[in-house]
């Protein structure tokens, strides 16, 4: 392969370069790790020894290996190089770096030099920005991976040749709160655009608006008992789908989505049926709970689509769940008074409710057939 005839060299060059596109291969690209604790005013910087060896003569004996002795001998050069490449600043100016610990640590690709600093910012201010330039003029793929701890909030950031400064102030980077609000919004949206959950809720709520006089009492019950019943139904539904949503989102229980969607559709039809013929009994909250478990798995499939390996899954989950609740309560607050008022008219009970039930039942049965076909 290494013959020197021009044509052969060409082939050799061809062969060397040819397969590069195909393999998905690698060690890992070069990363430094920077951990900033804004509350404690501390900074820790971990840089791969391999990468440091590009910048300074670490391998004194030239054996292509770095011993503990060789690394220790260059401690001063290492820390000076780091301190030149990293700048932390507060509102009034640069903060001083005072070394507290130095040694080695490990990451996924081997040993790193690790240094911890106390940050001294002017007038005792909190650090505001972190700038970093190490290795960018050697390796375009080098990155500074930053974790910012402020109180109990953790934020991740990445420094690159194009983005050499990161803001350390809370609220400026999308942290746990950002994820939470994003998923809160997604939860509301999903409930509102997910017709099956809304129909299910409607069918559950209808009986509460229809409550007839119980035997022995003088007339139809007032608003109070209806609200209590309603609260019971909604709470049961919420509890149930929260549990299964969590179980599914955390990967503890997994069910095939096609099945779940079919059962959800079936649940709507059965709930509609139950209003007319209470085969599952008059205690609607039980029905709400049982089917709520299934609906939770339905929410989870959407949440799974949105997160896909998201690190802050618990936060996303809490936000999404709460979003679903907010959407649900919003609908009830708007819708139930209307149903309550309508319930005063005979036509509501005689015609509108049966029509709604028949319509909802029909649609959901259609869904059952459609979804069952795709299993």
């Amino acid at each position: 392969m290494s013959r020197s005839a021009p044509c052969m060299r060409l082939i050799a060059a061809v062969l060397l370069m040819f397969p590069l596109a195909t393999p998905a291969l690698a060690h890992k690209a070069s990363d430094s790790f920077l951990y900033v604790d804004t509350g404690q005013s501390e900074l820790r910087i971990d840089v791969a020894l391999r990468d440091l060896a590009l910048l300074m003569p670490l391998d004194r004996n030239g054996d292509q290996q770095l011993s503990g002795r060789e690394v220790r001998a260059q401690r001063a050069v290492i820390t000076r190089t780091l301190e030149e490449a990293v700048t932390v600043a507060s509102a009034s100016g640069s903060c001083s770096l005072t070394g507290t610990d130095w040694g080695i640590s490990t990451h996924s690709d081997g040993h790193y030099s690790a240094a911890r600093y106390r940050l001294g910012c002017p007038n005792g201010e909190a650090p505001q920005t972190l700038s970093y330039t190490l290795l960018f003029d050697r390796d375009s793929l080098h990155r500074g991976l930053v974790r910012i701890d402020s109180g109990d909030r953790h934020t991740l950031a990445v420094l690159s040749p194009a983005e050499r400064t990161v803001n350390l102030l809370p609220g400026t980077a999308p942290g746990a709160w950002g994820i939470f609000t994003t998923f809160l919004y997604e939860g509301v949206i999903h409930l509102l655009i997910g017709l099956d959950h809304i129909l299910f809720l409607l069918v559950l709520v209808l009986p509460a608006s229809l409550m007839s006089a119980s035997p022995g009492s003088t007339g139809p019950p007032g608003l109070r008992p209806r609200l209590i019943q309603l609260a019971g139904i909604v709470t049961a539904f919420t509890l149930a789908h929260s549990v299964t949503l969590a179980l599914a989102a955390l990967g503890i229980v997994r069910l095939p989505v096609a099945w779940i969607e079919t059962v959800i559709a079936l649940s709507i039809a059965l709930a509609a049926l139950n209003v007319v013929w209470p085969v599952f009994g008059r205690k609607t909250w039980r029905l709400a709970f049982a089917f709520g478990l299934v609906h939770g798995f339905g929410f989870a499939s959407v949440l799974g689509d949105l997160t896909g390996g998201e690190a802050n899954l618990a936060v996303a989950l809490a936000g999404f769940n709460l979003g679903v609740e907010v959407g649900q309560l919003g609908l009830l607050v708007l819708g139930f008074p209307m149903l309550y008022l309508l319930a005063r008219f005979r036509l509501y009970q005689r015609a509108l409710v049966p029509a709604v039930l028949a319509g909802v039942g029909g649609i959901s049965l259609l869904w059952v057939i459609e979804r069952a076909a795709s299993i």
């Binding site: 052969m8 060409l10 061809v14 062969l15 060397l16 370069m17 397969p19 590069l20 596109a21 998905a24 291969l25 690698a26 060690h27 890992k28 690209a29 990363d31 951990y35 820790r44 391999r50 590009l54 290996q65 770095l66 011993s67 503990g68 690394v71 220790r72 040694g103 080695i104 640590s105 990451h107 996924s108 690709d109 081997g110 690790a114 003029d137 050697r138 390796d139 375009s140 793929l141 080098h142 990155r143 991976l145 953790h154 990445v158 955390l250 229980v253 997994r254 069910l255 095939p256 989505v257 099945w259 779940i260 049982a290 499939s301 799974g304 689509d305 896909g308 390996g309 618990a314 809490a318």
Partner: protein, 404 residues
């Protein structure tokens, strides 16, 4: 992530039937809240706390081994030829070791190099670099420029071959065939024949492509040439597609003379794994743990045999992927997806990444993984997308047993 963004991702069937009622749980609302709260507090690794700083490490400990071919300074090479030599060495190093740091060094060199001093050879090298960083359009642009403007025959051939390969990898067989045909007039021989055979095999004429290339190889006779090895590697690929046992011998022949060919090593390890030859996977991946693709194949083999280090290796791979995700640019989506599917048993996440990968790379292993993930995640839409493409291209492969 385009394709899987809108598709509804399905979850695996664990054998549990959809539960309408959990009688044992009924009426215990309070314990549910407790359960829910404890689930919310489930430890999710968010860039796990770093390893502690060790201050009293031993003087004698070997902490790192350094590679040879690193740029010694930031000073640019004195000539375009010297620059090309250096960049070529860096790309070769990346290819042979699977170490992307060398790609970063090479790219940095190109950033420093003045535009008006670019040569055809440098442009082809820059395209090769872009290709290995999965920036296919950039690569295409540089190669097209060389093909349109260059009078340098050698660089034109190199550009043509690189472009043919790029189009093949992306599953654009029509374009790839056109380049292979041009190549066979401009540079006839086993390399052009392999180029055409690969494209034919991927677009329906698999058996004919295999027989023709095997005949051309036999006729050529020169077993020591680069073209010979190239054809053997291609025959290995096509044999695997046909499910022929000869795949092993072809790939072994390539590996025997270039053991650092990580592409072939990965193909063969995958082949062994599919055929249940777990010990052969272990032997082939020994010492290649630092290469994502081979590490993932190795850990799957370990799991199948109940190897005592399976959790150790899985943890190392997991940490590597976590760092890559923190970085934000997951270069090896296929390996990540395979790890998620086979080891983490998260078909939904596996499918998302397998499909994102498949959007840019459509090698048989990419397609095979996407299919498996789609079926495991029970995503009919994704299965349809894959099946449609396979029907459209006429591609069949023994490694897609899920399809009739």
């Amino acid at each position: 992530m385009t394709c899987c963004g809108n598709a509804s991702l399905r979850r695996i069937h664990t054998g549990l039937s959809p539960a309408l009622f959990f009688p044992a749980l009924r009426g215990r609302a309070f314990s549910f809240w407790i359960g829910l709260v404890s689930l919310m507090a489930w430890p999710i690794p968010v860039a796990a706390a770093p390893a502690p700083i060790q201050t009293n490490f031993a003087d004698e400990a070997i902490l790192a081994r350094l590679p040879d071919a690193v740029p010694r300074s930031t000073r640019l090479p004195p000539s375009a030829a010297a620059m090309a030599e250096e960049v070529q060495a860096l790309i070769d190093q990346a290819r042979g070791s699977g170490d992307p740091r060398f790609l970063g060094y090479a790219e940095r060199r190109f950033q420093q190099w003045p535009d008006d001093a670019m040569t055809d050879r440098l442009r082809v090298l820059r395209a090769t670099l872009a290709q290995s960083l999965h920036r296919f359009d950039e690569a295409r642009q540089d190669l097209a420029e060389v093909l349109n403007r260059s009078a340098d025959r050698r660089q034109r051939i190199q550009a043509r071959l690189t472009l043919a390969n790029l189009e093949t990898v992306q599953g654009r067989y029509h374009q790839a065939r056109a380049h292979c045909q041009r190549l066979s007039t401009e540079f006839p021989g086993l390399i052009a024949a392999s180029c055409l055979a690969q494209v034919d095999a991927r677009s329906g004429a698999t058996r004919a492509a295999y027989d023709r290339l095997a005949n051309q190889l036999a006729a050529a006779g020169n077993t020591g040439s680069a073209g010979y090895l190239w054809a053997r590697g291609t025959l290995g690929d096509i044999a695997a597609q046909l499910g022929l046992a000869s795949a092993e011998a072809h790939w072994q022949a390539v590996l025997a003379s270039s053991p650092t060919d990580l592409y072939t090593r990965t193909q063969l390890a995958d082949w062994y794994l599919r055929n249940g030859q777990v010990q052969s996977v272990m032997a082939l991946t020994l010492g290649y743990e630092q290469v994502d693709a081979l590490a993932v194949l190795r850990v799957i083999a370990m799991r199948r045999t109940g190897h005592p280090d399976q959790d150790g290796l899985a943890n190392r791979i997991r940490e590597r992927f976590e760092e890559a995700q923190w970085r934000g640019a997951l270069l090896h989506k296929r390996d990540f997806a395979r790890f998620q599917l086979a080891i983490e048993e998260r078909p939904d996440i596996a499918l998302r990444h397998a499909m994102a990968n498949w959007e840019t790379q459509r090698e048989p292993l990419d397609t095979a993984l996407a299919l498996r993930a789609a079926i495991a995640a029970d995503d009919q839409a994704a299965v349809r997308t894959l099946r449609n493409w396979l029907e459209q291209t006429g591609q069949s492969d023994a490694r897609y047993p899920e399809l009739p």
